[in-house]
């Protein structure tokens, strides 16, 4: 996922004298053309994205074996009551999702911003440094999982080999991905490896879009480096800041692939429970419980929508005024 910012409509200004031709009658061909090319994606979006999102909410109030439509029974809030009170992996999953988000916001995001700030000052080899740090972003999150598996492998992995902790009978044998107290942090390091480069590139683009004369003006006014950064550059980059916040929140909520791979291709390892994995396991797992899965999905939907709506409001507010 990625986002871009700036729908501020300032570009619309460029087309200033807005003397549009009055709404004219579209020809039949025009209408047909528009109907097909807009109707198809709109239909796909509604049928395969928004309808299932709403259906998730609906199914979350039912009990269903997932086979025939006739076996659906309305159970009200029963599923929610169950997942909140007697579904052991639920609260750990919520906790891990929260840890994931907080960690991502506090470690790789500032690291990416810091690196971007260092790289922005036209230095030599900037391109080389950028490529090295950005490279993981190009890889699939699943492949990132496989690569880190080779690093974390308790017997053959790089980490244990270097630390000398790869002897199963030895005193210090560390099973990075098996130990429920360690594995989440191991996965978070792998995820940070990718996220840092992502944030770095977004921020770098933001920095480049800041009008250099702003900095000069700040310098003339006697602002020091930090003042310039906090008072001039950060506010000037508002669109990109919003984008980075949304990317950070959404990537944390939808984390799945890496954990699925790193927990041995079934996505259920103690210490690595995540909402996304619980939903999937209840959908296509060994004992599918669509009602449960949907209640979990609805929880995730509500949290996601809070972030999405914030983003939309930020982005489209000016547009509406224009």
């Amino acid at each position: 996922m990625a986002l871009t910012a700036d729908v501020t409509g300032k570009n619309a200004k460029a087309a200033a004298p807005r003397r549009r031709p009055r709404t004219r009658v579209l020809s039949v061909g025009d209408k047909l053309f528009l109907a097909v090319l807009i109707g198809v994606p709109l239909l796909a979006l509604l049928a395969f994205v928004w309808l299932p999102a709403l259906a998730s909410v609906g199914i979350s109030f039912t009990q269903w074996d997932g086979i025939g439509l006739s076996s659906i029974h309305w159970v009200g809030l029963q599923n929610y009551k169950n997942i909140f009170t007697n579904y052991p992996p639920f609260w750990p999953a919520v906790e891990h999702n929260v840890i994931w988000m907080v960690f991502t916001a506090l470690v790789p995001t500032p690291a990416g911003i810091f690196l971007a700030y260092q790289l922005d000052r036209k230095i030599r080899f900037s391109r080389v440094y950028q490529m090295a740090i950005f490279l993981p972003v190009v890889l699939s999150t699943a492949v990132v999982g496989f690569i880190w598996e080779i690093v974390y492998d308790p017997d053959h992995g790089l980490l244990n080999s270097v630390l000398g902790t790869n002897n199963p009978s030895g005193k210090h044998y560390i099973d990075w991905l098996g130990d429920p107290h360690l594995n989440l942090w191991a996965v978070l390091v792998a995820s940070a490896w990718r996220h840092t480069g992502y944030v770095m590139i977004l921020y770098l683009a933001g920095l480049k879009s800041v009008d250099p004369s702003l900095r000069e003006a700040a310098a003339i006014d006697g602002a020091n480096g930090r003042q310039t950064f906090l008072r001039v550059i950060v506010p000037a980059m508002k669109p990109i800041n919003v984008t980075i916040i949304v990317v950070t929140v959404m990537e944390s909520l939808r984390a799945f692939d890496m954990v699925y791979v790193l927990s041995g291709n079934n996505g259920s390892k103690q210490g690595l429970e995540l909402l996304s994995l619980l939903i999937t396991n209840n959908t296509v797992g060994e004992s599918p419980r669509p009602g449960y899965g949907s209640a979990l999905a609805t929880v995730l939907l509500v949290v996601s929508l809070a972030a999405i709506v914030t983003f939309l409001v930020q982005n489209f507010r000016k547009e509406r005024q224009a």
């Binding site: 729908v7 061909g29 198809v40 199914i59 036209k122 933001g206």
Partner: protein, 306 residues
């Protein structure tokens, strides 16, 4: 946007009036050391995977993985490639990625064209619907989508299974539905920068809407298309979740999600897994290295525009 030019030259000729805030060597050197260390550190996991994949299993079994290699070879790559039938999975990836990217761009550009060129009441609502759809986590919709895919029939020439489920068509459909949101967002921003006068002139000349779209707007959007095509190709190729959940037959899966099955079935040692994982990266790495400007441009388009 990522140009790096030697900037030491103008420094010497810089106006003397400027206070010498940037002391030359020491600070710059410190930054270089820091950035070089970070860069090298960043490459370690990939380098380790490459190192592992280039060694034979017997060598690592005897001497351990952290040891001086006794001969490096590409044997693991050729074994992984042949033994597991990876060419077939690459072909699957191609069959999903190419149509999905083309359809996404076609449809998204039409929606963006409409939203940015016509004064329709619900333009912004439409734009928001697409954008928000792209932001929803896939897991939020998976339970009903999975059931829907099992029910929705498809003619046999589109799907061997007879349903959306377990067919490339189904996976392409969800990619298009999902990715349109992002592309509509980017393209509508882009199209807004094209002066309205251009299409108004065409209107006055009596050009129908489809001609305006194909002959005027689309060619002008070429840079945005290049960026989005690069970005979407990599994203869709990299997809793991949709094809894992919406496809049952391992043989139909694209290479990224097939890897999960391969690692249990064929890849019996870490050296082979490393080779297999790196093989799947090759297309995206190539696309990135060749079209780097477009890839980064796609991520930052709109944000970097002033």
């Amino acid at each position: 946007m990522t140009t790096t030019t030697a900037t030491d030259l103008p420094k010497a000729a810089a106006p003397a009036g400027r206070p010498a805030t940037r002391s030359r060597r020491p600070r710059g050197l410190g930054r270089h050391v820091f950035l070089a260390l970070v860069s090298v550190g960043w490459l370690i996991p990939l380098a380790w995977a490459l190192f592992t994949s280039l060694r034979s299993y017997s060598d690592t079994a005897e001497h351990g993985y952290l040891s001086w290699p006794h001969g490096l070879s590409f044997d693991n790559f050729s074994t992984a490639f042949d033994q597991s039938g990876m060419p077939h999975f690459f072909w699957n990836s191609l069959l999903i990625t190419v149509p999905a990217v083309l359809l996404t761009l076609l449809f998204a550009s039409a929606v963006a064209f409409f939203v940015s060129r016509f004064d329709f009441r619900f333009n912004i609502a439409l734009l928001m619907l697409f954008t928000a759809g792209n932001l929803l986590p896939a897991q939020v919709i998976i339970t009903p989508l999975y059931k829907l895919y099992l029910q929705l029939p498809l003619p046999s020439f589109l799907s061997g299974s007879g349903y959306f489920y377990d067919s490339a068509f189904g996976v392409i459909t969800i990619h298009v539905a999902y990715q349109c949101g992002f592309c509509v967002f980017v393209l509508s921003n882009y199209m807004r920068t094209i002066p309205r006068e251009i299409s108004e002139a065409a209107l006055v000349d009596g050009a129908p809407v489809w001609r305006q779209y194909f002959q005027i707007i689309l060619p002008l959007c070429r840079p945005a298309f290049a960026a989005l095509a690069t970005l979407e190709s990599i994203w869709i190729y990299n997809d793991f979740f949709w094809s894992l959940i919406l496809m049952e037959t391992g043989d139909k899966r694209p290479v990224t999600s097939a890897l999960a099955g391969l690692s249990g079935e064929y890849f019996t040692n870490p050296n082979l897994i490393a080779a297999g994982a790196l093989l799947t990266c090759i297309p995206t790495l190539l696309i990135y290295l060749v079209l780097q400007r477009h890839f980064v441009g796609g991520l930052t388009i709109g944000a970097s525009k002033t």
